[in-house]
C-alpha cells in the first residue's frame, strides 16, 4: 500500500495554489496510507539564503534556539512540530555544528521545506498549513506501515542531500548491501529504512555528477525490489517504476502542470484534469521534468 503524489507547476496559477492542490491529493490517498503523511514543497528562493527544516524536541522555544545560534540575518518559522530556520548560506556549517545532536535537521535546501508526521494525511497537511503554501513543485506520501513502526522518522519523504527528496511506494530487497557500499563511500544514514537507502543512493550518484534522470537510470541496475519513486530536486521532478511495475502509478500533464498519483483518484480534483493527457508510466522508464529557472 502507501500512496504517493506529486505536482510540478508550469504556470503561476498552479504555483500559487500548489499547497492547496497537494493537500487535496494527499487527503484522497488516505485510504492507501492512513497512519502518517509527509510532503516537501519547493518554494521561492531568496538569493544567499539556505533553509534548514528542523524537528525541535517537544517544548522547545524557537526564539531561544535562534538566540542561542546567534547568527546575524537568520530567522525561524515554527509550523507545528517542525520549524524552518533561514540563514545566510555561509553560516550553514556553523548552524549545523551547533544543532548537531540537539535538534534533528530533516531537510536542507535553498527552496525545499520538508514536513512529516504521524496522523491522518488531511490532518497532517492542515497541521503544517500546507493548503496555504505556494511553490514550484511538491511531493507527498501517505504511509501504511508494514515493515517498521509508525513513527515520524519512518514517514516519507526522505531527504539526504540539499534540495533532494524522495518518496517511495514499495520495498527494496537489497537495501542492506547497498547501504554497506554507500557507508564505505562515506555516506551516513539516520535510519534503517530501505527508502533512505534509495535516497542516499541518488544523492551519491548526483554528487558524482549524474543528472537526476541518469541517477534514476542507475537505480534500475543497482536497486532490487519493488518501487515507484517520485523525486524532487531544486529544479527537477522525476518518476521511476521498477521493471515489474507492481506498484501503481498515474501521470497527468497539461500545459499548466505535471501531476503524479498512485491512483487517478489523487488527480481527479485538479483543475483542467478532464482535458489532461493521463497515462500510466511505463516500467523501467525515467520520466523527468526540469525547470528552466
Amino acid at each position: 500500500m502507501c500512496g504517493i503524489v506529486g505536482l510540478f507547476a508550469k504556470h503561476q496559477a498552479v504555483e500559487a495554489a500548489l499547497g492547496a492542490h497537494l493537500a487535496g491529493m494527499l487527503a484522497s490517498m488516505a485510504g492507501r496510507g492512513p497512519d502518517s503523511a509527509g510532503f516537501a514543497v519547493y518554494g521561492a528562493h531568496c538569493p544567499g539564503v539556505v533553509k534548514l527544516t528542523l524537528r525541535p524536541p517537544p517544548g522547545s522555544d524557537a526564539d531561544a534556539l535562534l538566540a542561542r545560534l546567534g547568527i546575524p540575518g537568520s530567522s525561524i518559522l515554527v509550523r507545528a512540530s517542525h520549524a524552518v530556520l533561514s540563514l545566510p548560506e555561509h553560516a550553514e556549517a556553523q548552524a549545523r555544528a551547533a544543532l548537531a545532536a540537539v535538534v534533528p535537521v530533516v531537510g536542507v535546501g535553498r527552496r525545499m521545506e520538508l514536513y512529516k508526521e504521524v496522523g491522518a494525511p488531511a490532518e497532517v497537511a492542515a497541521r503544517f498549513g500546507l493548503p496555504a503554501m505556494s511553490g514550484s513543485h511538491g511531493i507527498g506520501h501517505t504511509r501504511m506501515a508494514t515493515e517498521s513502526a509508525v513513527t515520524t522518522d519512518g514517514a516519507h519523504p526522505f531527504s539526504t542531500g540539499p534540495d533532494q527528496c524522495l518518496v517511495h511506494n514499495g520495498s527494496l530487497s537489497n537495501h542492506n548491501a547497498v547501504r554497506r557500499d554507500l557507508r564505505r563511500q562515506g555516506y551516513g544514514f539516520a535510519t534503517e529504512n530501505d527508502t533512505e537507502v534509495a535516497a542516499v543512493y541518488l544523492t551519491a550518484r548526483m554528487h558524482e555528477g549524474l543528472s537526476l534522470g541518469d541517477a534514476l537510470r542507475a537505480c534500475l541496475r543497482d536497486l532490487d525490489g519493488f518501487y515507484t519513486f517520485v523525486v524532487g530536486t531544486a529544479t527537477g521532478f522525476a518518476v521511476l517504476r521498477d521493471p515489474i511495475a507492481c506498484k501503481p502509478a498515474v501521470l497527468a500533464e497539461t500545459d499548466r502542470y505535471v501531476a503524479f498519483g498512485t491512483e487517478y483518484r489523487a488527480l481527479a480534483g485538479l483543475p483542467g484534469i478532464g482535458a489532461a493527457r493521463v497515462w500510466e508510466p511505463e516500467p523501467a522508464t525515467v520520466y523527468a521534468w526540469e525547470r528552466g529557472h
Partner: protein, 258 residues
Amino acid sequence: MGAGTGDGVRLGARALTAAALIAATQAEPQVVDLDRVSVRDLNQALHALDRTSTTTRWRVLNPAGRHALAVGLDAAAEVEILGHAGYYCAGMNKSARVTVHGNAGTGVAENMMSGRVHVRGDASQSAGASAHGGLLLIDGNASARCGISPKGADIVVRGSVGHMSAFMAQAGTLVVLGNAGDGFGDSVYEAHLYVRGAVASLGTDCVETAMTEADRAELRDKLAAAGLTGEADVGEFRRYGSARTLYHFHIDNAAAYS
C-alpha cells in the same frame, strides 16, 4: 453526452422506487452523479434490476477514479461511465454492457462471466483477469498482465499490451492490434493469442503456432464482435499458444478448454 449533467438523481437503495426503475427502461438514461450519490448506492440500484427485464440505461457522472463502479451486475443493463474509472470496474459482470468513456484502473472486468465491457481509453494492469466469458474491448493500451488467467473471455485491445500479458491464460482469446510486452503468454494453457504487432519476448512455454483456417475464422469473428471488421486484416496477425511442455496436457481433455 451531457444530457442531465448536474441533475443527478438522489438515488439510494431505499429511495429506488418503481417509478425510477420504469424511468430507467425508457429512452432517457437514468443519470447517477457520483459527486452526490455513493458508489454503494449506485451498485445496489444496479443489483436491484430484474434480470428478466428489458435493457435499462444508466449514465454515471463524475466517476473521478472511484473504485468498484458497476460491479457484480446481473441484468441486461447498459451503463455508461463518463470519465475515468478506478479499480475493478465492471468486475464479475454478467449480461450487462458497461462502457467507460475514459481510462480504467487495475482489474477492469475481472472475473467477467458474460456481457461486454468497453474501455474507450487505456486500461491499467490485469485487465480481464480471470474472466470466464463475455467481451472486453479496450480502445487504447492495456498495461501489464492484460488477460491474466482468463477462463473463457474474449479480450480485444486496439493498442498494445504490457509485460506478462496472457499469463497462465487458460481459455478464451486475446487479440492485440498493437504490440505485446515482455514475457507474453507465459505458462499459457489453451487460450488463443493473436498479435498484429511485435512481441517483445515470449514467456515460458509460449510459442508461435501456425495460423490455421479455423484460427483465421475465429479471429475474424472476434474482430467482428468487437466492431473492428475492416480496421485490421486477419492476415497481419500471428498466432501464439502453448507448447504444452509445462503442464500435463492430454489430448483427451482438449474439450475442457474450448
